[in-house]
Amino acid sequence: MPGIAFPQQNHILDALPPDERGRVFPHLKLVTLPLGAVLYEAGDALRHIYFPTDSIVSLLYVLEDGSSTEICVVGNDGAIGVALFMGGETTTSRAIVQSAGSAYRLTGRRLKQEFERQGETMHILLRYTQALITQMAQTAVCNRHHTVDQQLARWLLLSLDRLSVNTLSMTQELIADMLGVRREGVTDAAGKLQRLGVITYSRGTITVLDRKRLESLSCECYSVVKRETDRLLPARSVH
């Protein structure tokens, strides 16, 4: 979906005051993120922070045997690479593109320079990190206690919120990887949602038809994460 990308599509970049935009924006580089691309693996040195505009990136924790589970999903609401400003020189998760699109990226060096000024860039990224922590803790307990049906609904809602559209291009294998469940589990859950008329699914495209219903089928984890994200991050300016 080619279109004109601009930094303000990302909520964090959008929230920066003019002087910080003036310093940061000239150094942003627009990059295309194809579906399934790995931005980094666990243990990689972190060189950039990414601010998605219309892409979604999942952070996965990978266990020794290779099995992985999604710990958070990042889209136009956030940034990938928060470990950069916590002194973590290497990553501890895998960042994989879950929905193709674009992102702006900034070098770690530039980010650190801006951070040292202790302005809004720092404050908003720190608050965003707290929203990520909430999402991670909620995902952990959700993984443990909720059904695949509920988790799929939660996952679809969190993903769609970060896209500003009702359609998601996604294979069931990828969803299964994200949720850390078997593919049959996802097929069953998606089939139920389809029979209820909540989504349509064909050839790797999921379209949400009845968002209200999807919200009611999700566990509380979706609204907990959404409420916390809304509380911690500034309301969007109108474009």
């Binding site: 589970t69 470990a83 707290q130 803790a137 443990r144 850390g180 509380e220």
Partner: protein, 250 residues
């Protein structure tokens, strides 16, 4: 709200032995330059944390930051007000109140004292002033936050994939490290609550470990008999987390 049975009692050794095994204070503070450490400690007050005390509820304002010296605290995530999962464990290697580092004064997790004992406590506003004043403090606590976030991510994956027996072994080892003792009291209800599993699953896993003589468990008293073997039963998460802490906080 959690109101069910909940018992974990650190077994205190005789004072003489306890003194010999007492941890050297809080490791986050110990790693600071002398000037910064002394200034911060001067603003802290020593407190005794009581077992099962809730230091902070999810969503509540953070009033104090705690640096445990010989106590430990569980960070607990909940759903539906009835199901729980421990997503972090904070002892003398860490601190409670990391949200303040992120400019957020509200706690996102319930903090429950799981091992009674001493801690240093500082008022949130004072803490923020010190944080501004001391770049080494900021740097060290940021690194700790990175460790804690990794632990959180790891707990999510571990809770999803690893078997109860391996998770139980991991939990016992993590608790042992923070209790600075191979013995502590706990109930199976409590373990089930922490690990987010049914009690029957815990009973089965505990009796397997008992049969293999890795632990002794009776009347709520847990004793680790063979830590090497327990490490072998544990999932990789125990050693990974310990090594990560050492690498990042060195």
């Amino acid at each position: 709200m959690w109101a069910g049975p909940l018992r974990v009692r650190a077994i205190f050794m005789t004072p003489r032995i306890a003194a010999a095994r007492l941890p050297p204070g809080n490791l986050l503070l110990a790693g600071l330059p002398d000037v910064d450490r002394r200034r911060l400690i001067a603003r802290c007050e020593p407190v005794e944390l009581e077992l099962e005390e809730v230091l902070c509820e999810e969503g509540a304002r953070i009033r104090h930051v705690y640096f445990p010296t010989a106590s430990f605290i569980s960070l607990i995530s909940s759903v539906d007000k009835s199901s729980f999962l421990e997503v972090g464990l904070v002892g003398s290697e860490g601190m409670l109140g990391t949200s303040l580092l992120l400019g957020v004064e509200v706690a996102s997790l319930r903090a429950l004292v799981q091992g009674a004992g001493p801690a240093l406590r500082i008022d949130a506003a004072q803490f923020l002033r010190e944080l501004k004043r001391s770049p080494p403090l900021r740097k060290r606590l940021d690194s700790y936050l990175h460790v804690l976030m990794t632990q959180l991510a790891q707990m999510a994956a571990c809770a999803r994939y690893h078997l109860v027996e391996a998770r139980l072994a991991r939990w016992l080892l993590m608790t042992r490290d923070r209790a600075h003792s191979n013995e502590f009291l706990l109930t199976q209800e409590f373990l089930a609550y922490m690990l987010g599993v049914r009690r029957a699953g815990i009973t089965r896993a505990a009796s397997t470990l008992k049969k293999r003589r890795l632990i002794r468990y009776s009347r709520g008293k847990m004793q680790i008999l063979d830590e090497r073997a327990l490490e072998a039963v544990s999932c990789e998460c125990y050693l990974d987390a310990a090594q990560m802490y050492n690498r990042v906080m060195a």
